[in-house]
Amino acid sequence: MWIAVCKVDDVPGDGGACIKWGEKHIALFNVTSRDDWYAMDNRCPHDGQTVLARGIVGDAGGSPKVACPLHKNSFCLKDGRHLGGQDDWRLTTYPVKVEGGQVFIELPEEKHRGAS
């Protein structure tokens, strides 16, 4: 289901912010350089910390990525793949859409909203 998570202005250009969805932390990225939005798990599989939304957004070979602020592990924003070749470090990604200045993420239905 599509969930309205924030306004476009809430996430800095070429930067990220974190969404709380039940127990889940989801990193949302506003890639203004490509005029696109991405969402993925916020937890870096390397150390298990929920910090990816605070990483630097950039590209590798033109494809958007984020670098974890803790140890600079980079993940592809399109498919959640680890760009350093750790195949088992794949992150779940979520579709994002923007309508009328509002940002929506499509999240699995079974997760109920934890915060009111």
Binding site: V5, C6, D10, V11, P12, G13, D14, G15, A17, C18, I19, K20, H25, L28, S33, R34, R43, P45, D47, G48, Q49, T50, V51, R54, G55, I56, V57, G58, D59, A60, G61, G62, K65, A67, P69, L70, K72, S74, A115
Partner: protein, 827 residues
């Protein structure tokens, strides 16, 4: 079949090159080659004569031993000076009374030093600089001399000056014209060269009118036209060359009105059985006084005599050389002017560079160029006259772009006429270091000035083969940090978007180039680091003005200048730590670190700290952090200066200044060094007379004792030198390079730093002090600014869709304080 007789008179560099090329061409051995050399020694490299005084031996300069000629079947006669040509009988007579007959004769007699017509040039102690014998005579005579003087500030004069300088003599260069190397350089280029040479201790005097050389029995000085006597112990005349054309003149060959043996494009003199090559030859009223055109003549002639049809139709007088360690190049005609002519110059006194491009405005075609300080661009595609000049000419001058700009046809080694393609081929065949390339294709075996370029090509090719990493910043920029710094400074760019649009390769940046650019922006423009267009460029710690820890929480470090703090402020820190349940620890830099703050707690904690009079400690920045100190003369019975007051002064001055990496400092009140200043980037140790300044120390992984930069400084000089040191570091260091590595990698090392900082050898001291003054004046407590901006505060939330705290962060208790829970990986 009897072989035809080919006779070569003269065995200098051009003569030898002819022999080499001739052997390659004369596969059928139709000629018997005989060579007459005037000197007793085998041919040698005259271009590098002065290296004899800096450790090289004559054997090092030898181009080939006499045995090489023997093995090649060349009939070599050394010590035989040709004294006459009998053109009817086709014979050459020598000073030894021998006669050599020829079917074809080649004159490669070269040139001699031009000695101006003035009294005293024959006096004892006056020399020319041309041959190994000249050098031996100069060396012998120099034993009883302190001062030496070179007449002539051109190419050869400066080469002679280097020889005298290497002999340890107090050396002066006198030039008639108003600048050094007047044929190659303009005022600005010559001015930079002059100041660089002077910084070595060599005196340079231009616009000098000399009357005569004076002395009783031996030279004692120069009499100037204004009546003054300039004292000196010896004189070396190096005011130009004159072609050695006596033989040709006496035998009636066609000559130029001011000397030189006339030749045509086939290298023939007026007698078709006689050719002339090198500096004795005159082609279209031009004597080519450089080795490269001489080589071209030799090669064309060798090929022609063996049935080819190569001609010589003139040569470019572009030159590139090292003058007393300073690189200089002149390309095409840098002196043309007119309404259709465009100029571009760039002056970087900091790194001692001057660059000038002269081009045709309409087509942006290059006509000439001058490079002083760094001649690496010499061999790029720009080298060719007529090359296209970019709309942003600075692009041509940034390494990384250089080799990228070159094509396979680009001439890399102009001495040996080696194009890039030959070097690439050589690497393809397995050459993996410069030596192997030199052996394989001769590139860089001449003057050696292209060696750095050869190295670049080697790196480039090896990278292509997957054997070495790219040295450019990242995939987005082909520039190193200092190059980016210069680009940003000269273009005054303030946003990353513009930077990558103008100077980037592809894409939109990454975690390497973004923080690097943000740091350079902060070093240059000193703006608030969380301004909207730079905030997301910042590395994690700068982005949230705190140090991220392993569990995603942050630590908070208020500034405690020099580690001096009142009990009241200690209590404030204690109360805040208690209130927010933070772990506290004393740092190595004499302050207090508060750990375990969640993102959304940072603004609240800082609001309380600032209200109590604290400010940001910049522990999160690649910047000047803390200045450690001992208690100094105020309390310590050994202290000789007030180290705490000095440490506070220094910390207040440099706090927060962004740099390539963190900068740590310390001040000790006496030689006992309790503040461990010698392990810091900038260390100050009190003496009875003032302060000793140390730089480039490091603890950490690669401990290094700091070097003494200057001793017994007063307060003002200490600050001035630290100002210059820091700015120079910020300008030239690579990304994440601490001062200790920087000094070690800097060409010239500590001596170079001394020149720049203490002696102001490049004249940039005042400019660097101003830059520092402006950084100091624009200091701001970034936390104070942030707290005043509601927009910025919005970023300090764990979640944007709820204000609740991040409950995933949990702590355990350890020794009475919090600690992160041991990491658990997600299931």
């Amino acid at each position: 079949m009897t072989k035809q007789k080919l006779l070569l008179v003269g065995l200098g560099m051009v003569g030898h090159r002819f022999c080499e090329r001739f052997l390659e061409e004369d596969q059928t051995r139709t000629w018997q080659l005989t060579v007459l050399g005037e000197e007793l020694v085998a041919p040698y490299d005259r271009v590098h004569l002065s290296s004899i005084f800096s450790g090289k031996t004559p054997a090092d300069l030898e181009l080939a031993p006499a045995s090489w000629y023997q093995e090649a079947g060349i009939d070599l006669h050394l010590g035989q000076r040709a004294v006459g040509i009998d053109r009817e009988r086709k014979q050459v007579m020598t000073s030894q009374g021998q006669t050599f007959s020829y079917d074809h004769l080649i004159l490669a007699t070269g040139s001699s030093a031009f000695v101006p017509n003035m009294p005293g040039t024959q006096m004892k102690g006056v020399f020319v600089y041309r041959t190994l014998d000249d050098l031996a005579a100069i060396q012998n005579y120099s034993h009883d001399c302190q001062k030496a003087l070179v007449i002539g500030g051109g190419l050869l004069g400066l080469e002679a000056a280097k020889a005298l300088y290497d002999l340890g003599l107090k050396t002066t260069v006198m030039e008639v014209a108003d600048r050094l190397m007047p044929r190659q350089l303009d005022d600005q280029g010559a001015g930079l060269l002059k100041s660089s040479i002077e910084s070595l201790g060599v005196q340079v005097l231009t616009s000098q009118k000399i009357n005569s050389i004076v002395g009783v029995g031996q030279v004692q000085g120069l009499a100037m036209q204004n009546g003054e006597i300039f004292p000196t112990d010896m004189v070396v005349i190096s005011a130009g060359i004159r072609p050695r054309d006596e033989l040709a003149r006496e035998s009636g060959l066609g000559m130029g009105s001011r000397g030189g043996i006339r030749i045509d494009a086939n290298l023939r003199t007026s007698d078709p059985s006689i050719s002339a090559i090198g500096e004795c030859a005159l082609y279209e009223e031009m004597i080519y006084g450089l080795v490269a055109p001489g080589y071209k003549m030799a090669e064309a002639l060798a090929q022609q005599l063996c049935g080819g049809n190569q001609t010589f139709t003139g040569a470019d007088m572009s030159t590139r050389l090292k003058v007393l360690g300073i690189e200089v190049a002149s390309i095409g005609d840098p002196f043309v002017s007119g309404s259709n002519i465009g100029f571009w110059t760039s002056w970087d006194a900091g790194r001692g560079f001057y660059r000038k491009l002269v081009y045709e405005k309409a087509g942006r075609k290059l006509l000439g160029a001058i490079l002083v300080g760094d001649t690496a661009p010499y061999n790029t595609s720009l080298y060719q006259r007529g090359a296209a000049v970019d709309e942003q000419p600075e692009k041509h001058f940034v390494t990384g772009g250089l080799i990228g700009n070159s094509t396979l046809e680009t001439l890399i080694c102009s001495c040996e006429n080696v194009a890039k393609s030959s070097i690439v081929e050589c690497i393809g065949k397995g050459a993996r270091d410069v030596k192997a390339v030199q052996k394989g294709c001769r590139a860089g075996t001449g003057c050696g000035s292209c060696l750095s370029l050869v190295k670049d090509i080697l790196n480039e090719e090896m990278e292509k083969l997957g054997e070495e990493v790219d040295r450019s910043l990242c995939e987005h920029f082909a520039f190193s940090r200092p190059e980016l710094y210069q680009l940003i400074k000269s273009t005054r760019i303030k946003s990353f978007d513009e930077l990558i649009k103008r100077y980037g390769r592809t894409g939109f940046g990454c975690e390497i180039c973004k923080p690097t650019a943000a740091s350079i922006f902060a070093s240059l423009w000193s703006e608030y680091v969380l301004k909207p267009d730079v905030a997301t460029l910042q590395d994690t710690n700068d982005r949230f003005l705190a140090n991220i820890q392993k569990n995603g929480t942050y630590s908070v470090v208020p500034r405690i200048p020099a580690g001096e703090i009142t009990p009241a402020k200690l209590l404030v820190i204690g109360r805040i730590a208690e209130k927010y349940e933070l772990y506290t620890k004393i740092t190595g830099g004499q302050r207090i670190d508060l750990f375990g703050a969640r993102l959304e707690q940072l603004p609240m904690i800082w609001a309380e700290l600032i209200a109590a009079g604290f400010e940001s400690g910049h522990a999160y920045g690649k910047s000047v952090r803390t200045v450690k100190s001992c208690v100094g003369s105020t309390w310590c019975r050994y202290g000789v200066q007030d180290s705490v007051a000095m440490a506070i002064l220094i910390e207040e001055r440099y706090k927060g200044i962004r740099s390539p990496h963190k900068i740590k400092m310390a001040v000790s009140g006496c030689a006992r060094e309790c503040a461990e200043a010698q392990s810091k980037d900038v260390g100050v140790i009190a003496t009875e007379n003032g302060w000793n300044l140390y730089v480039g120390g490091n603890g950490g992984m690669k401990p290094r004792h700091a070097d003494l930069l200057a001793a017994d400084l007063d307060d003002a000089s200490l600050i001035r030198f630290i100002d210059r040191f820091l700015i120079y570091y910020i300008r030239t260091a690579d990304r994440l390079m601490r001062t200790s590595t920087w000094i070690q990698k800097l060409p010239g090392g500590l001596a170079h730093v001394k020149k720049v900082v203490l002696e102001d050898a490049f004249g940039i001291g005042a400019e660097m002090e101003e830059e520092m003054a402006s950084l100091v004046a624009s200091f701001q407590c970034e936390w104070k600014t942030t707290l005043e901006s509601p927009d910025r505060l919005k970023q300090f939330r764990s979640f944007i869709n709820t204000n609740e705290p991040d409950d995933s962060i949990q702590f355990v208790r350890q020794r009475g304080q919090i600690a992160p829970t041991p990491a658990t990986l997600p299931t």
